[in-house]
Symmetry: D2
Subunit: 282 residues, 4 copies
Amino acid sequence: MKNSDAKTSDEIVREAEAWWKTEIIDIHPGKIAMRGYPIEELIGAISFPQMIWLMVRGDLPTAEQSSLLEAALVAAVDHGPQAPSIAISRMAVTCGVELNNAMASAINVLAGIHGGAGQQCMELYADAARRMEQGATLEDAVEAALDAYIAENGKVIPGFGHRFHPIDPRSGKLLELVEAARAKGVVGGLYSRIGQQVEAILERRKGKRIPMNIDGATAVIYAELGFAPELGRGLFILSRSVGILAHAWEQSQQGGRIKGPMPKSIPYTYAGPARRAVPEVK
Amino acid sequence: MKNSDAKTSDEIVREAEAWWKTEIIDIHPGKIAMRGYPIEELIGAISFPQMIWLMVRGDLPTAEQSSLLEAALVAAVDHGPQAPSIAISRMAVTCGVELNNAMASAINVLAGIHGGAGQQCMELYADAARRMEQGATLEDAVEAALDAYIAENGKVIPGFGHRFHPIDPRSGKLLELVEAARAKGVVGGLYSRIGQQVEAILERRKGKRIPMNIDGATAVIYAELGFAPELGRGLFILSRSVGILAHAWEQSQQGGRIKGPMPKSIPYTYAGPARRAVPEVK
Amino acid sequence: MKNSDAKTSDEIVREAEAWWKTEIIDIHPGKIAMRGYPIEELIGAISFPQMIWLMVRGDLPTAEQSSLLEAALVAAVDHGPQAPSIAISRMAVTCGVELNNAMASAINVLAGIHGGAGQQCMELYADAARRMEQGATLEDAVEAALDAYIAENGKVIPGFGHRFHPIDPRSGKLLELVEAARAKGVVGGLYSRIGQQVEAILERRKGKRIPMNIDGATAVIYAELGFAPELGRGLFILSRSVGILAHAWEQSQQGGRIKGPMPKSIPYTYAGPARRAVPEVK
Amino acid sequence: MKNSDAKTSDEIVREAEAWWKTEIIDIHPGKIAMRGYPIEELIGAISFPQMIWLMVRGDLPTAEQSSLLEAALVAAVDHGPQAPSIAISRMAVTCGVELNNAMASAINVLAGIHGGAGQQCMELYADAARRMEQGATLEDAVEAALDAYIAENGKVIPGFGHRFHPIDPRSGKLLELVEAARAKGVVGGLYSRIGQQVEAILERRKGKRIPMNIDGATAVIYAELGFAPELGRGLFILSRSVGILAHAWEQSQQGGRIKGPMPKSIPYTYAGPARRAVPEVK
């Protein structure tokens, strides 16, 4: 393939050097720096959550900020073999793929519906925060943000309620940690108040408690720590990858070949046309 | 990142131009040729299976060769929602991904165990064919190839027997088409004889019929047509992608959110330690 | 995991049977039917494009409809190693994955921007068609549909213009085939007229020709044949998968290990902070 | 799909309940336990690396074991946009996918060649350790393990030498941490000695230093901590996922559409047949 433009080699090389541009990592023979910090000075000195923060944001968190991030990462690692991502990871292994492939097929489905609730919840919180910045009270801001969300996306509020858990045992613990961090001045507490206000309004509107679930609680933490909503999903993926790996590995130790979603004794429902002859089509 | 080697821009450009090298497609502004054939002359002139053949092999098949390939592609498109690949495609859609992502997660698991039987069977056939070239009779060659396969891989012979179908309705039809093609001189028939000999030996050894399944039958076709074993899997993927797309699309029309592998009323088995307190670890 | 609901085994089995529901494939021991047609009657009787149509739509196309679909599938198989999907497929192979994995990583990126132009173009055409149904002239309908598209999505019109080809050699040939099919009454020609009207308006507005590219031309074909826009992308994926496979296979024959996007003699641009010491964070 | 076996609903439910079996997570409404530990007691109490260890191994590490694991996780997060996995992640984003999809396409290629060096190196170390258990000296065991590895896999020894770094700045730091842990009795030091012996033998054989790289050094750590070789790759994936996410996110902030591997000013090499006419094939 030849471009019609006549460029000199020097021009082509300059264009090629500019093709990939990053502020994350600088590599020279024998030297590697992440965000400016020599890698050998980071190893052993910072924690894995601090490294995660440094890589996606460019600066180092304090130890307290990092602890809060760590709690959120610990909380979301797994939700069992009936979660599609975990089931896919286990099924993939029985098809003969390696761990990286099983993880890829599984992580791929941590999309809007399965893995995106935290991100959507962060956007809801951010909308309420923006309204407060513009002068609204907490109550009015959350009420308006909820109405706007529902108008655009329908009634299911991401981060609140759970198909399975009447109360999510992870949320309360995470909110306690946020409160402790707020008391120490590590975080401001705005998003925690917004989240609790969402809960209060939902209870008033529905006449029953729709408690904050893990997505709502980690959204509070990620928002308090200043992460962009998209990174909320990214952090969830890093966390859930642990469960996806653990289940893929356990399945590989159990064995099993071409394990479908249900045992073959349970037939699926065929709802199409009855058997019929092929007409002449050619 | 700077390489220590001092290269001139001309050298760098030459190295870069040589970085990706292909015999498949030649592109210039306004001109596209596949294996030398202008694309606008191929469109409307050759069939999709002929294009598949051209792309992976570099030459055009005859109409008869193409028909045989087409029959194999038609035969393997789907095996229902209890096949892991199809289930993954449907589950992925309910997680909120788009069709390309659902297809990717599903195609990714068409690996050694789930999608590799045809490829392995082609390798078994090829081993028998090599032994015949070196002078062995059909009977001895297949016997020895089977023994060698079992010694290395265990007792399950890829392409023969089925967990579900006592007789695979696809195999007989495919072998008829091979026989018809052989009668017309389109293919030599060697691999068809090898496949049938495998079946005969398995029946003698096991005392019951272990009939050739679709993987064994498409392996006959692909081997007769001269495809490499790895391409046997590649062709299977192109075929099964059709079913994967159809099921992903059907699921998207049905709706459903975060659909796990089984209804939640069916619990999974937890076989780990009973609930216990977290010890001090930090 | 136990649900609190006390269900009987019969209820659980009924719920499980209804969990996966399909109109595509019916499987019983020794019997497989696609959309009601016994598989052994389809093999050898219908073409691969006809099988694709049957699987995603439920009915069989005529031979003429199928030929038009086939032309579109043939046209879009590849766009060379500078397309991200093709490059990813080749790079993946050099990392040690198998063909199914390379194809999965590549197909996964046939998303909104890279593979979605056809789908978006079909939606644009469909909007114009709806406006014509409501009484607008061709000219007014296309003008309004374009304005609505631009207002929501910006100035780039999917399916028109190309970064590389001044004239796309595939489009003209595909439109010829549509015109021939229209002359024979195979298709109505509405979407062909809409597509050409888009081209005419763009030329008038921009003062230069922005010719219909392959996405715009296959969108005409798929729309003429009655496919939903999402399936436009699905069909593109089936087509491009052929090129993805061919390049993965070619790369595997060439060898190469951990082949990055560019030769290492071309450095990337590091634009982050200069080397700095790690502060105390723990 | 009906199985020929007549099973009662009770039998089917029992079979279905046993279909997915795990020792990792136990879920009941309002209760979640990982390996027996209530999740709410783990959150805030254990670190993310401790959670990773707990999930894949079933027990909790000591704080010192966890620190060593953490250092290895921190060390391997990124190797820049010329690594295929990172480039794929960035290219994927420019095609319009979301972060989970970009990460999946990238993680998928952390296969034998790109991400498997650590795993292979752990297998080499384990082979040497087995030989020592059977009575061989360190020198003889490593010599024999190396010879066996080379005989089966060729001359490239995984974990030693680097295409780019004359000395890998990460390895020395990691080995220091292993030595400090050994001095405190946290690890035994066997694999560290094996790794250094590999280096010594390679230097003697090749006449120049082939220094241990990051894969060789993390392999020492993972082996010292008792991880299975396959989990070595799994842990590498968790680590590299951080870089993959950071680069995907940075690319999404930079923008860019359908970004191929190299700028279009650099043509690829077409080495196939010259332009030719399509023969009659149908």
